[in-house]
Each structure stands twice: as structure tokens, then as C-alpha cells.
Amino acid sequence: MTSFAKQQVREWFDGVGRGAILCGEIASSLFRAKVAWRDVLYQMYFIGVKSQSVVAITGAFTGMVLCAQTAFQFHKVKMDTATLAVVSVGMGSELGPVLTGLMVAGRVGAAIAAELGTMRVTEQIDALRTLATHPIDYLVVPRFLATLLVMPLLTAESVCLGILAAYIVAVFLLGINPTYLWYNMLHYTHTNDMLTGMIKTFIFGAIVAVIACDKGLNCPQGAEGVGRATTEAVVYSSITILISNFFLTMLLQRLLP
């Protein structure tokens, strides 16, 4: 193995180890310290409300393109009215959570890593510590809880808008019968499909929060360090979401058939 590859592997294990320790510290903080719900609420506003437009646009246009492409293919076998069922299951269990996760990783993960990274390089985190405040209690836990709480809401919004946009495309652009379209969607979409998506999005929220906070808290010195931490937070969160999505799909398929 070349030294570059060795270093990459070591860095990967370092990152996984740090992430695990951070998860342990978050759990310890949740049990031992008072949660500052006002900070959680503020973070929910920043992470949730402020991410709505990007999540809504992503959901709606993904639903539209998925609908159009599915309808084009299904039309060949005269299954046009099953289009919305495919969109609904696809958006609810896969695309909704994954795309929302990626959007939140890009917008929120970057913001968290940059904010905490800047605080670290300007000694604000050290100042917090000298003021007898644990950075995990004050900085990480509110962001972690807020991300966890808003992700299912954002995903639900994205899925609903995706289905609505797909319905509009199918009915008004492609001229598919709305009654059969709606009936088939309800018939083939099961609670477990939506539950799978909600479980995934919850986990993706945790992934984004933990990776972004870890990158911010361990940011190298200087402006370059903050830039690198921000980029790494987005890249690593996105990759982790995509990889874990496959394993979660396989696992949840067995648990929630």
C-alpha cells in the first residue's frame, strides 16, 4: 500500500473514531446536562425554516422529472396510470430522504462547519470553555437535536411537493387519467414505504450534524482550515448519506417488508 493510501485509510479511521467519540459525548450531554431548548428552537428555525425553499424546489422538480420519465417508459407498456405510484414510493422511501439529506448537508452542514470552525480559529470555543461552558452542551447538542427534529419535516414537505408536482405534470401535461392515477398511488404506496423514508431521514440528519460539528470543532488553523473543514463537512456528509442509504434500504426492507 502506498503511503498516500495509508494516510487516507488512517484519516478515514481517525474520522470514524472522532465521530464515534462525538456521538458518545452528545449522548452523555443529553443525560447529564440541561438541554437549552431556546437554542434548539433557534437552530430549528435556521436549519428548518431557512432550508425550506431549497428543499421544496428539489422535491418538486425531482417529482416532476421522475413522473415524466416514468410516464414515458410506462406508456410503452400501457401502464401510464401507475406513474404516480412509482413517484410516491420512490420519493417517499428513497429520493425524498436522500435529496433532502444532500441539500441539508450542503446548506446546513457547510454553515455549521464554517461557524464552529471560525469560532475555533478565533479562540471563541476556548473562551466558551473558560466560561465553564462545555462546547458539546452549548454548540453541538442544540444543532444535533434541531437537525434531527427538522429533517423528517423537511423530507415530508419535499415528498408531498414532489407528489403534487408529479400529479400536475401527469394530469395536465401528459393527460393521464387522474382518478386511476390517484387510486393506483394509494393502492401501491404502503405505510412502510413512508416509514422507511422517515427512519432514513432521521439517520441522515444525525450524519449531517455529527460530521459538520466534528469538522468544525477540529478545524485546522487559519482561513484555509475553515474552508477545508467546510468542504470536507459537505463532501463527507454527502458520501456517507449515499453509502448508508444502500445499507439502510437493505436493512429496512427486511425489517419493514
Binding site: 469560532m119 479562540e123 471563541q124 473562551a127 470553555r129 473558560t130 465553564a132 462545555h134 452549548y138
Partner: protein, 250 residues
Amino acid sequence: MMIEVRNLKKRFGSLPVLQGVNFSIEKGEAISIIGVSGGGKSVLLKHLVGLINPDAGEVFIDGQNIAGLSERELLPVRRKFGMLFQGAALFDSMTVEENVAFILNRERKTSPEDIARRVEEVLDLVGLNGIQKQKPAELSGGMRKRVGLARAVIYHPEILLYDEPTTGLDPIASDTIDRLIIRVVQKLQVTSIAVTHDMRSARRIGQRILMLHEGRIYADQKPEDLFKSKDPVIYRFVNGISELKKDDEL
């Protein structure tokens, strides 16, 4: 003994920074720590408040060894400290008032009226009453440090640490900070430790000066003795001479 450091060692990678530091500080003493830039002064200061864990050695605060304590175990120890950082380290998302009242707001033991009164008191002490609603970005370097000092003293700590309090300030602003530190030490009767390479500052603030050289305490003297010292290392440092020539009179 308020603070006792025994055989403290720290290295960053292959670079040894502290190589066996020993000293002790009595309650109420005002100490200046001097030494070359990059010589480990700030690292030493951060060890005292547990911001950095030593590789070896012990740091006793009020008889308790804090080396190796976890972040959560350190919280009550840190409540004894107030620290002024080199760049003031004010929270830039908060106003001056929120910065200064940070610890009181977090503890939720003081009423909002009392907090406002105490903020006013400490801002008065540093000569900045009236800027409560301003953001740190709107303040000058000297003002930021004074707000940082107000934040450090509002909860009446027993020990005050100053990391390069006058670095980057003009001579008048430096003089203001020096006077302020002296006033705070006298008024609040706290133990004070200032790390600096500003000789004028070190002389005025410290009742005793520790000189850190090559990772060890090289000198531990009263200011008047240190500034008269004929030791070449001390002489060169306090007089700012990069290299001693043959005709330099010691």
C-alpha cells in the same frame, strides 16, 4: 498555594514546547510570564485552565491536580478562572451585553435586572459603559480587549489570566489596558497571571516575573531585579538585543 506547576511537559509533534516547567503562585499574587514569541507562554497559560492537556507533569489549582481531568470534570475548576484572550475572543454573533453577561445568562441564577446592573458595573470598570448594544465587529482592538476583560471579571473569578493583553495595540491603548489590569487586580483582589513579551507591560503588571526560556522557567524574580540582571539571556531579552556584540556592556 493557589497554583502549582510540577515538571510540566508538552510537545506538538516532534517540537518540544514545555520541557519541565516548575513554579508556584500564591493567592493574590500578580505574575508576568515573559519569553520569546513561539516559546510556549500561551501554551503554558492554557495548561493552567485545562485548555491543553500536558504530556507529563501536574498542575495543581487550589490543591487539585487538573492534569488529565475530563472536559466535564474541569467545568467547576474553570469557574475559578477568568481569561482575557489575545484577540479578546468575543462571541461575534452576540452584542457586547450578551458577551459580558454570557456566564450569568447561562447559569440562570441571576435576575435580568441584576444581570443588566452587573454588566453596567463591569463596563463602567473598563470605561465602556453605554456600548451594551454594539456588536464586537463595531469595536476597536483596544475596546474588544476591554470588553473581554469585563466578560472575564463579571462573575468574580479567583484567578485572572491574560494572554498577551497589549499585543497589537498602540502605546496609548496598551497603557490603558495595563492600568485597567492593575486596577482590576487591586479592586477585585484576584490572583493574576499575564503572559506578555511587552517588557513595559510585564514590569507594570507583575509583582513577580517568570521568564520562560527553552521550555523551562529560566528566571523567577522581582521586576526590579530582573531588569538589572547581568545574565546574558535575560539581558538580551529585556533589552531587545538579537545578538550580543563584544562591546555591549552588560
